[in-house]
Symmetry: C2
Subunit: 378 residues, 2 copies
């Protein structure tokens, strides 16, 4: 099938670019002697997971229990659910464990661990839990010097229903970096922050089998991972304009884009409209952050083949089902007649892809070769 036969807007996935991105990080992490546990929150697709797992140990990361259930149904056995577990969710986790999935969860609070443990006992399972450590991202986690770190380890070690499986960090603060040097520094800090906690736990006699760290920017720029057992990354599979802006990939590595149709010319406003707005592109504006090479609005726009970009064309504004194309100088209306098509590359691949229930997969010749479903929702 040709691109021209697709209804728009739709989500395109360039299989060759995906293969290259997956192989590149796999090679890099292997060269550092560490396991790569791909984070499937970006792709949410078993077809993509199979590619990401090539040459790796077979474990994945998930961001929702729905992903966990979907990937378990599709044969994946080893997972970390990397969002704090709570008692009300133990039932779904227990079902996965009972069906043979080695599902590990994360937590950062001893009282909550108690509640989870009680529920796990009721349900007749023992849930492996990693202690989440905040190495600078200031999202979830205990600080490495937290007073209750040992109480947390003891809770997980002592309570029936749970077991202490290790330590997990996420250096999301790497997204604030603007140079390779800064990224390498954050990558080192992430590793060191995790290892401080690992040493404390082991010195106190606790097991700490898994030491799981990661974010795409720190994984790409990691140079020494001694003491770490695994790296989690997700967006490296697809890349995006933001990741290119912070040197995690190049724009040629971007694997997903939205195919859209020009639906209106506004000569007097020097812009054109496409049929992809805030629902088709997401409302992600991460390239608006300071210190990036270019703010592309709601997406970077190339021609239908994704080979050429005209005059920094981008989606300047987004309404629910309308995107406004603007570029430097006079808008080239003749080059983009109504009915012609463009490709919009994302600020953030995770959020753009989340607006679709499947990928239209294209090969190196730009032929549509397959449709791969995604597992959205919770």
């Amino acid at each position: 099938m040709k691109l021209s036969q697709l209804d728009t807007p739709c989500l395109m996935l360039n299989r060759e670019t995906l293969l290259q991105n997956a192989q590149a990080l796999t090679n890099h992490i292997q060269s550092l002697g560490v396991n790569l546990r791909p984070h499937m929150k970006t792709a949410k697709s078993i077809d993509v997971a199979k590619i990401a797992l090539e040459g790796n140990f077979g474990g994945i990361t998930v961001s929702t229990l729905k992903e966990a259930e979907y990937f378990a149904e599709n044969g994946i056995k080893d997972m970390i659910y990397a969002v704090s577990m709570v008692a009300s969710k133990v039932k779904r986790a227990a079902k996965l464990l009972k069906n043979g999935t080695d599902l590990k969860c994360i937590m950062d609070n001893p009282d909550a661990a108690h509640a989870v443990a009680e529920r796990a006992v009721e349900l007749g399972v023992e849930l492996p839990i990693l202690i989440e450590v905040d190495v600078g991202d200031h999202r979830g986690g205990l600080m490495p010097d937290a007073d209750n770190l040992m109480a947390m380890a003891r809770a997980l070690h002592d309570y029936p229903g749970v077991q202490l499986a290790g330590v997990l960090t996420h250096a999301g603060n790497s997204y604030g970096c603007r140079s390779v040097e800064e990224l390498q520094k954050i990558a080192d800090e992430e590793r060191d922050g995790a290892l401080i906690v690992v040493r404390k736990l082991r010195n106190a006699g606790f097991p700490c089998e898994i030491v799981s760290i990661g974010s795409t920017p720190t994984a790409v720029h990691a140079r020494d991972l001694e003491g770490i057992t695994e790296i989690r990354s997700g967006v490296y599979m697809f890349g995006d304009v933001f990741q290119a802006g912070i040197h995690s990939c190049q724009t040629k590595d971007m694997a997903v884009s939205v195919l859209a149709t020009v639906i209106s010319h506004r000569q007097e406003l020097n812009c054109a409209l496409i049929d992809a707005g805030s629902l088709a592109l997401s409302q992600d504006r991460s390239t608006a952050a300071s210190g990036l090479p270019e703010d592309v609005g709601y997406g970077l726009v190339m021609d239908e083949s994704a080979e050429n970009r005209t005059a920094n064309m981008h989606v300047a504004r987004a309404f629910q089902e309308h995107g406004v194309l603007e570029c430097d100088g006079s808008f080239p209306f003749d080059q983009f007649p109504i009915g012609s098509r463009v490709r919009v590359f994302p600020n953030h691949a995770c959020t753009m892809a989340a607006m679709y229930d499947s990928y239209k997969v294209i090969d190196v010749h730009g032929e549509v070769i397959d449709t791969w479903p995604r597992v959205n929702g919770w």
Copy 2:
């Protein structure tokens, strides 16, 4: 079923509030002697459409052809697809027409009208087209004084395959208003802009059966709609924090919210985490616009019953699956223990609801009485 039995995050719809909102605008528009054609882009649900259509003539507005197909399957016969039609989409429209749906489309370009007309002839249908007029929103449309307005009317009137069905405007610029006086002024301008074009067309001998205008803020504040045949509005059914901020509704009128669970306490950062992040809440930041009473971040937070709000609590930051709760003063951790639940009300109901494939419908007692599916995608 009780709220406490629901998995989180999930999208809640308060049926009573929806009924009141639907009735209020129906009464107001009827008092002005005009038809209300509810815009289903917000709700994307036949169950909601049935409520919105009570007391009205039965026609709806849609924002995607997928909505059109879904509502046609569910028995609705009269629709306007309010995004510019292009030739590549005529096939789907033609199928609806052939199956008995009175589907009207909009366009703003004579050349594109020619291409659509040719395709319609090939497919053996005659597509009713409204001329889209830009009354100040500067999204789609011809300006009321556009040179090619008559060429457009002539094209739609003369080409086989299409017919001129009327004029359509959308005063999206009403979202920039901050007072009732400003809204009334924009409502008057929208009406007058449409009527200028209607007069020109009729004076030139063209038919102009439908004069369709609308946006929720201008519909709510319209005082005189003489010459207009119908009003299109969508978000009035649900309301949201932004609409309350610009006086289109009150916060008590908000019908949709996300039920979320507290999953982490960050005492040292004076915040808590919930399991609803940028995918569960959307990335809409419309309350960040200037001149509004309050920027609620990624959503306004109330307790599980949606009756009380503590210290201006809101979602200050959103990661993919994590939202960060903040409030004035010290965060009340004891009041919101890990495992407790909150309700997050949207900046923008359309974009939050779009992240879900169904509504959990609750009655006046807070009991979950039904699940209503949504039609997402294109």
